[in-house]
Amino acid sequence: MTVDGDARSTVPLPADLADRPVDPRRGVPVPFVSDAEDGTVEIGRVVKKRAIRCALSRICGLCGISLEWGVTFVGSAEEAGANAFHYPPLHRGCAEAALRLYPALGEPVLGQPARVDTWALVVTGGFELERPASRHGDQRVAFHANAVSEDLRLPG
């Protein structure tokens, strides 16, 4: 499964993801976790409050609906190697659609600070939420998978 270059109009989306408000400029759904409730759109950002909500309420960071068994995380290969993701848990279907849709925009997406060469998609039973330890340093929350059943690498 490779990431399609011009997939915007042709990538089939899970119904709940397609229901999300669409960013008029890019023509893609605005992820639930990047909605800062202030009218601005930054398609790749992780709003900390929302990320925590996704983790605690067990909802998908992209479509905002209740997760299903087979919780999925996406991130860089480094994040997967360290088992520390910074994008909240997702539905498998939403994660796969997202990898076909967002990287093609050519900007940092899915919580990553820069373009990613190899995406990792990890499916797990459960995960732990790690809040930032101190006011200095990395202020992002992190997610650690604790029952990995699939670990895939995909070119960016």
Partner: protein, 396 residues
């Protein structure tokens, strides 16, 4: 008195709080690493016991016209409902058992035997209550929108009826919980999105229809001539569950010693400060293993709030270490017998039904510092202004 800065309240320096955070992190990591077959066996055993009790209760109640069968069936069903609600449902939905990678015991698809839809519970409880624990204006569990539980909450003449609302809430607790995520206060203040409210009401309606159908229509009908006695038995079993879970839950954050917090506290709260707030805002109660299982291990409310997604059967062993940590850092650890914890909650409900002027303020003195006194480092000393107008630090 509501706390704005947990560090100030507990007389701990930033470094000490971080150290405390690290020690709690270590406890967490140890428990995470040691989850295994024994824990999996525990939850599976509890689930099997609960389902057998429920099946036995229902079957016994087919003979509900016969008083001993009525009593036995009602009790079995009541206990089964309590177990399902507290030790199983609440804990599974927190994700405590997700690590097993078992699709039949998973937070994403567990639906519990009460009127509230799981999705709404996971929002109002897992997120709103556990993230904003005891923060005034954010945590809806401070009074559930109908009770005044903190002096800082503005008094209104309607609060005079509080003891009555409290009794009603106890008897009808599952219905109160069902409506909880609607956020009555937001609705009153017209802050609630009407579309969202409609969607939630529809979801609640569907759940309620199935629950009512099961307990108050189908089972009574199936027991034929025992229709009325089965209906009364089911209602009583629900009542038992309502009152018991109400009492346990009210012991979690309403006894004296469980503090409230202001908005300022949660601005850039670090992980260690979050831990501290959870400890200061929660209250335990004491009891034997049976009591703890029957109360969903919420007698370890402090430990549950520190580690909501660790398996509940581990809270007892965690509590020994947490208690020792509190001792060492001089942090109050609120606990007591069940009747005293509930008694204090009840007293507060009565007390706060009256305006503040008519009742006495609880002693606001923070606990004394227990850590040994030592010289402050240069970094910890306050900055002093000299007469010439420049800043300097007082030398050691």
């Amino acid at each position: 008195m509501a706390i704005s800065d947990v560090k100030e309240y507990t007389h701990l320096s930033e470094a000490e709080v971080e150290e405390l955070g690290r020690e709690l992190d270590a406890i967490r990591a140890e428990i995470e690493a040691s989850r295994g077959a024994a824990d999996a066996a525990y939850i599976n055993r509890i689930i099997t016991i609960q389902r057998r009790l429920a099946a036995a209760g229902r079957i016994t109640l087919f003979a509900s016209r016969f008083p001993p069968a009525w009593v036995a069936g009602t009790l079995m069903l009541g206990v089964a409902k309590i177990l399902e609600n507290m030790e199983i449902g609440h804990n599974v939905m927190h994700g405590q058992w997700d690590w097993m990678n078992d699709p039949e015991i998973h937070s994403s698809n567990w639906e519990w035997d009460t009127a509230q839809p799981a999705e709404q519970w996971k929002h109002s409880h897992n997120y709103v209550h556990h993230q904003f624990t005891n923060v005034l204006g954010y945590d809806n569990d401070i009074g559930y929108g109908i009770l005044r539980m903190a002096r800082e909450q503005k008094w209104h003449p309607a609060n005079l009826g509080q003891p009555v609302y409290n009794t009603l809430l106890a008897l009808l607790f599952q219905w109160g919980v069902a409506l909880h995520d609607l956020d009555l206060e937001a609705i009153r203040k017209r802050r609630k999105d009407p579309k969202e409210m409609k969607r939630q009401l529809r979801q609640i309606g569907r759940k309620i229809r199935r629950q009512i159908g099961k307990d108050y229509v189908l089972y009574p009908l199936l027991s034929g001539p025992a229709f009325l006695s089965t209906l009364k038995a089911n209602a009583t079993a629900n009542l038992i569950r309502n009152v018991w879970s109400y009492m346990i839950i009210f012991c979690g954050h309403f006894p004296d010693g469980a503090m409230h917090f202001t908005e300022e506290e949660i601005e850039d709260e670090t992980r260690a400060e979050w831990y501290l707030r959870q400890m200061l805002g929660s209250a335990n109660f004491e009891g034997g293993p049976l009591l703890h299982v029957m109360s969903g291990n919420l007698g370890f409310q402090i430990e549950h709030h520190l580690f909501p997604d660790l398996p509940s059967n581990r809270y007892a062993e965690i509590s020994v270490r947490v208690r020792a940590l509190c001792e060492r850092y001089g942090i109050p650890y609120t606990t007591g017998p069940l009747h005293r914890q509930y008694g204090q909650a009840l007293r507060t409900i009565w007390k706060l039904s009256l305006p503040n002027g008519m009742t006495s303020e609880p002693d606001p003195t923070p606990p004394p510092r227990r850590l040994p006194r030592r010289r402050l480092t240069d970094a910890e000393r306050p900055v002093r202004r000299l007469e010439t107008g420049s800043w300097s630090r007082r030398s050691a």
